[in-house]
Each structure stands twice: as C-alpha cells, then as structure tokens.
C-alpha cells in the first residue's frame, strides 16, 4: 500500500506533526520503504486468527472505589509550561 507525499502530510497532520517542504520527498520515500517492509504481512493468510492484544491472556483487575490521590496540584504543575490560578494555559480554545 504505497503512500504519496500528500498522504504523508495528511497523516502527519493527524499526529500534529509538520514536515518541512524540503523534507517531504525524503520522508515519503522512507515511510514508503517502511510500509513496504510491513506489507510483507499481507502475504500471510490470517483468516480466522483471533488478534492477540496481550501475550498472556490475562484479565483486568478492578480497583476499589476509594480516594487514594489527594491534591498534589503544586507538585504536578511544577513542570508545566504555563499555569495561572491553578489552570494550565493554552492559546485560546475556539469551539
């Protein structure tokens, strides 16, 4: 499944990444060769094979509904780029 430059740009945007215009060609070629590598899977017949998400077939453990985390705002925001009045600041959100 080949991908072209505009496809790469679209996917990059979905991932909120930009690709420099002068790097688009090289990136497209590299990603293309990686996709070629992974496309080797397509030759395998996997009909009826249940996908394996976790190797050990374990099941989820459930946690009791008890408050264990108290307010740690100061510590957790110590590495935040911009904070005011306890809020994380971002460029204006327009809905």
């Amino acid at each position: 499944m080949a991908i072209d430059a505009s496809g790469i740009k679209k996917v990059a945007h979905l991932a909120r990444l930009s690709i420099d215009d002068n790097a688009v060609e090289a990136t497209t070629a590299t990603i293309g060769s990686i996709l070629e590598l992974v496309d080797r899977m397509q030759a395998v017949d996997t009909q009826g094979v249940e996908p394996l998400a976790h190797p050990l077939d374990a099941i989820q453990r459930l946690r009791p509904d008890i408050v264990t985390e108290e307010n740690q705002r100061e510590q957790l925001q110590s590495c935040a780029p911009a904070v005011e009045e306890g809020l994380f600041l971002v460029p204006r959100v327009i809905e």
Binding site: K10, H13, L14, R16, A53, H54, A58, I59, Q60, R61, L62, R63, P64, D65, I66, V67, T68, E69, N71, Q72, R73, L76, Q77, A82, E84, E85, G86, L87, F88, L89, V90, P91, R92, V93, I94, E95
Partner: protein
C-alpha cells in the same frame, strides 16, 4: 408538505463513583481547579490506568435497569484526537464491545399513551476536562478536575419523533439513573448531558434525512427548545430549496441561539484501537447475580405497584413514581394518612405548588411526609374540612408548628360536627335571610339545588369554615324543604 421529525439521543451520564474511572482521585464537584487531577488524570509520562470496580458495577446496574444484555467481555479502546481538555491525546472508551447491549425504555406521553424507545447500547468512558474561556491574556485555562470522571454514554435508536417524546425519554432516564443511585442527576452540574441527533423527512418517506447533532444540552428545557429550533431550521432550509448538511451544532441556552461549530478540522479519524494499558474486563455470573440482588424497584415497577396497591390513576402513578424522592415521600405520606388518593392529590397539588413557588425540591420541603400524612388523616376523619386543611398546610409550611394536630388545637380549627350547634347556626342564618328563604321555597325544584349554595356559604361563613359542610348541607335541606 407534511414533515416527520426523527430524533436519536446520546446521553452522557456521570456515574456517582467516589473516584475517577482510572485513578484514585476524587470526583466531587466544585473543587478548586486541578486539585482533583492526579498524575493519572493529567496523563503524565509513565502513568497507567486501573479500572474502578464501582464504575463497572454501576454500568451493569444501568443495563439491568433497562432490560439490556450485559456484555461479559469488555474491552476499552482509545479514541485518539488532540484537544486541550483531553490530557492523554486519547479518550479511553468502548467501541466494539460496550458493556451494555440493546435495551429499552418505555415512556408515557401526556395523552396517556406509552411508547417504547430502544436503546442501541451504552458504553463506559472517561469524561474530559474543561476549557475555561475567561480571558487569561488571550489564553484559555484548562481545568482537569473532571477528566477521568466515569461516564456511561447511552445511545438510543432513532425512535423519537418529537420534542415531547425526547423530553419524556430524558426525564425517564433521569428517573432510572437516580433510582439506581448511579448518578446524582444534578443536571446543572453537568451530571447528565444530552446530544440530540435530529433529521426531518417528508411524511411517509422511508429513508432518513441528513441529521445534525446538537451537543451538550444540560437541561430538559434547553433540549426541548433546541429540538424545536433545529426542526424548524431544517424544514425551512429544505422548503427554501436548500439541503441540510451533517454537522455538529451548539445551542446556547441563555440566548436561545444555535450555531454550527466552526470546526475547520479535517473529517475526524479517531484511530480507535484496543487500549494496550488495560486488559479485558470480564463480568462473571457471580457479579451479575450480586448486582441483580441489589437492584432497587425500578420506576416502571413502582408505577405498576402504585396503580394496583393504591388504586392511583395511570397519570398520578407516573408522576409519583418518576423520581426516587417523590416516590419515597408519597409512600411515607400514605403510611401515615392511610389515604393514597388524597395523599397523591396533596403532593401533586398544594405541596408541588409551594415547592415550585419557592424553587425547592421534595427533600427540601419544610412539610415532611409525616406532617402531610398527619394533616390528611384529619381531613379523612372529618376533624377539619379540605378548606381548613389548606390553612393548616400553610401554617406547617411556615414552620410555626410541627404537626397538623398542633395547628388545629392552637388555632381552634376543629370542625363543628355537633348537630345541635349546627342547627342553631342554621336557624339564625335562615331567620336573618327571610326574603331568600321565601324565594327559595317559591322556586321550582330544579332551581333549588343552585340556590341552596347561598345558604351553605352563609353558614360556613358564620362558623368560620369550621362547620362540617356535609352536615350543613343536609340539615339545611331538611329545614328549607320542610
């Protein structure tokens, strides 16, 4: 042209757990920003989610409450998109295997008819945080206290045909989740939020029209208004030769205006995939059995019981069973008054009127079920008349006394039922209204019924309302008709 409206609802219900769905931070409403957002809720590097058992239990209870299949194998998936109120860049939700499968909710319409609305499924997911748009030097502020609060998203089939049905469904759902105790039902705090999918089509047409989705309506009133507005907009648009485009819309409850969300963003590609940090949640029979045993009486069952046990009308039973607090108040009142019909009338009449006037809910009522029951008991045993009872109720509401008996005693409101006293009073009234007595006796039989009302009124006035109206009537008739 005749148009038909087709509506499907998606309802986000915040579960009433103490902690988040994947972290041990509190879900309490109203805390200072980000004081209830722990490392997990902030999506810090290296954090991992662990599923809250109570969120699973509550979702199952909802499924049991709407007669739905409970899926035994539950997988959480990631819905990937970037938004500042979504700390991890994905929402953990369910797609392929939602916890609650197909079920249904029956609604009662004002004409007394009932309608079944099918629920397609309900799935568990985490709530997002909030963007606050007050001006921080042109920036928005992000509060992640709400992030990770457990939600069930309930998705209906497009079975709803108008705003009335939509509101009836929403109210019924509110009644179900509050009865189950899985949601506090506080709409103003966002505990239940409705997304409304609306389309119109010419009556008789089979295929559905293009739908729009109006998001995040958090009151029944707004939902109703938003539906009216959107239906009107779509019909006008089509009749003017335009076409409806599929879009997400926002309704502003304060202005009553709706607008399209100016999302320039590309067609969403959420890249769902099973969350690799979580394992499948398996719901075994023992959990199901335990939860089944804990199920409270659901509104429909309660309504049916109110009809059979108390002889209530369908309409009264519907209203009194709609929410847990009202139903509980009603039953407590009946247990004291021993008269279901009178109790129902008082609760839906005077009590409800006073509550509305004061913007109160039933649990806040200054007149308790005990007090109201005691009052009704005195109407029933003829200690007071219905009219005097209203006076007594007013005194109780003001908090001047704590029982009806105390009011009756203090204010001397006890009904006069002594035949001699009533006769004496009547004689006095007849003597001082000789002309009217003459007129009455001269009148033909069929006019007299109406004319007797005048004498009854005079007697009641003379007794300050305390004379037993039935006895006054009877004795008057005897004396006048001779």
């Amino acid at each position: 042209m005749q148009w038909e409206t087709v509506i499907g609802l998606e309802i986000h219900v915040q579960l009433a757990t103490k902690t988040k769905i994947f972290s041990g931070a509190s879900t309490a409403f109203g805390a200072a920003p980000n004081t209830q957002a722990c490392a997990v809720d902030l999506g810090l590097p290296g954090i991992l989610p662990v599923v809250n058992e109570e969120a699973i239990n509550m979702a199952i209870k909802f499924g049991l409450g709407i007669d739905a299949e409970i899926n035994k194998v539950n997988v959480f998936e990631r819905k990937n998109y970037f938004y500042p109120d979504l700390p991890k860049g994905y929402q953990t939700t369910q797609l392929e295997k939602p916890i609650v499968g197909a079920g249904h909710v029956d609604i009662t319409l004002t004409d007394g008819s009932t309608k079944r609305i099918r629920v397609h499924h309900a799935h568990l997911e985490e709530d997002a945080g909030k963007s606050l748009h007050e001006d921080f030097h042109g920036m928005s502020g992000i509060d992640l206290n709400r992030a990770g609060t457990p939600l069930i998203e309930i998705v209906t089939e497009p079975d709803i045909r108008n705003a009335e049905e939509a509101v009836a469904f929403a109210k019924k759902l509110h009644s179900i989740v509050t009865t189950l105790g899985i949601c506090d039902g506080e709409m103003s705090q966002g505990s239940m939020r409705f997304d409304v999918n609306v389309s119109v089509r010419p009556k008789g047409q089979k295929e559905l029209g293009t739908r729009t989705e109006t998001k995040n309506l958090n009151s029944f009133k707004f939902m109703e208004a938003a539906i009216f507005k959107e239906v009107e907009r779509q019909i006008e648009l089509i009749e003017d030769g335009g076409t409806v485009i599929q879009e997400t819309r926002l309704y502003n409850g304060d202005t009553g205006e709706a607008r399209s969300m100016r999302s320039k963003e590309e067609a969403n590609d959420y890249r769902y995939f099973p969350c690799p940090d979580l394992l499948p949640v398996i719901i075994d029979d023992s959990r199901l059995e335990k939860l089944k045993a804990e199920m409270p009486e659901m509104p429909d069952a309660k309504k049916a019981r109110f009809i059979t046990d108390f002889g209530l009308s369908d309409y009264d039973a519907e209203i009194l069973s709609a929410d847990q607090a009202t139903a509980h108040y009603f039953e407590a009142t009946v247990s004291v008054s021993d008269d279901a019909k009178l109790s129902a009338n008082w609760i839906m009449g005077d009590l409800s009127k006073s509550l509305n006037q004061n913007g109160m809910s039933i649990p806040e009522s200054p007149v308790s079920a005990d007090m109201l029951g005691g009052l009704i008991k005195r109407i029933k045993d003829n200690t007071i008349s219905g009219k005097i009872a209203k006076e007594v109720f007013e005194v109780l509401w003001q908090g001047e006394c704590s029982t009806a008996d105390e009011v009756i005693e203090k204010k001397g409101l006890k009904q006069v039922t002594d035949t001699g006293a009533i006769e004496a009073m009547i004689d006095e009234v007849l003597a001082s209204n000789a002309q009217q007595v003459e007129n009455y006796r001269a009148a033909p039989e069929d006019k007299r019924g109406k004319m007797i009302g005048f004498f009854v009124g005079q007697c009641m006035k003379a007794s300050k309302g305390k004379a037993n109206p039935g006895m006054v009537n009877q004795i008057l008739k005897q004396k006048l008709d001779g």
